[in-house]
């Protein structure tokens, strides 16, 4: 229904406006309905201004900036209406080390709400996990789980 969608849209938008400056250490961003007169059909535009840069459609941001903005939206939706668990598969792939760290700080906070499972190749991300599962194929083509020691991790 129109009222229900608008309520969710405004709730998520509010959260997004808080989360974005947290991940970007400044700047601002918000969501827009591309057709405000038709909330049931309108698509959602994302506008963002990383600190020191101009306000623009997120399509014009760099690869890593787009990733981080998408993660801000995701975390905003999650904070607005948490699921019991959340699985993230290599969402940090395009982020530099500083942005990985900022995202992980937010993740640690939000993980109080729900159970998070993250798949990653990034050592910083491994360090914030409370449990670590290593997957290997000792027998070719057959997966198995092994215990992982971060200091000796061959990954």
């Amino acid at each position: 229904t129109k009222a229900r969608f608008m309520e969710a849209f405004e709730g998520v938008n509010k959260k997004f406006q808080e989360v974005f400056p947290r991940l970007f250490k400044g700047g601002k961003a918000f969501l827009l309905l591309d057709n405000p007169d038709d909330p049931l059909e309108a698509g959602i535009e994302m506008v963002a201004q990383p600190p020191g840069k101009r306000l623009q459609n997120i399509n014009l941001l760099s690869g890593g900036e787009k990733s981080l903005a998408a993660l801000a939206l995701l975390m905003a939706i999650f904070q607005y209406k948490p699921s019991p668990f959340c699985v993230l598969d290599e969402v940090d792939a395009a982020l530099d080390d500083i942005n990985v760290m900022r995202f992980n700080e937010l993740l640690k906070e939000i993980s109080a709400l729900s159970q998070f499972i993250v798949i990653t190749h990034n050592r910083q991300t491994m360090e914030i996990a409370e449990q670590l599962y290593g997957v290997t194929m000792q027998s070719p083509g057959v997966s198995q789980i092994v215990s992982v020691n971060l200091n000796s991790a061959p990954i």
């Binding site: 591309d34 290599e90 969402v91 914030i128 997966s143």
Partner: protein, 168 residues
């Protein structure tokens, strides 16, 4: 609701029976390219009731059966079991008295399927309903698959709307 453990046997690259035991907090799954990490994500979606092979990165459901390797023959069936506990409110009826739930899904080569909750045969619908009622389900934002984060941007305003609609 908390995931306690996930058991895989015959599902994709998990030809050997494998257990993941969760003890609370954030879990990280790591390993080399192609070792099976994303297959674990597929297994989780599948046991939660995913019916579209496309969302499991395949063309048909048969592709989830372990296809065999040098030392292991192809599997005749794939089985994934997810054990959950519910701390605060308890599970929805008829499981309100259970401390733990074990949701099991089996697929046989040839197309037969079995579904169980705490060893009782149920229909796929019962599994899907259970997860919808507990706000788990396969909400778009509970599972961010490999590459999806880029799609939220490139897929455009319509897809993004669907994403937000799931929170409505």
């Amino acid at each position: 609701m908390q995931m306690k453990s996930l058991k895989l046997h015959g599902f994709k690259s998990f030809g050997k029976e494998t257990d993941l035991v969760f003890s609370g907090g954030t879990s990280a799954i790591v390993g080399p390219n192609g070792c099976g990490k994303s297959n674990i994500v597929d297994a989780l979606r599948w046991v939660l009731g995913e019916q579209s092979p496309k969302r499991l990165r395949g063309k048909n459901m048969e592709e989830i059966l372990f296809g065999g390797s040098e030392h292991f023959p192809a599997a005749g069936m794939a089985r994934v079991a997810l054990t959950l506990s519910q701390e605060d409110k308890g599970f929805p009826p008829p499981y309100s008295e259970c401390e733990e739930l074990c949701v099991e899904r089996i697929f046989y080569r040839g197309g037969e399927s079995e579904y169980r909750i705490n060893r009782m045969p149920v229909r796929l619908k019962d599994i899907v309903d259970l997860f919808t009622d507990t706000g788990t389900g396969t909400r778009a934002y509970s599972f961010i698959e490999q590459g999806y984060i880029g799609e939220i941007i490139s897929a455009g305003p319509e897809r993004r709307r669907n994403f937000v609609e799931e929170a409505a």
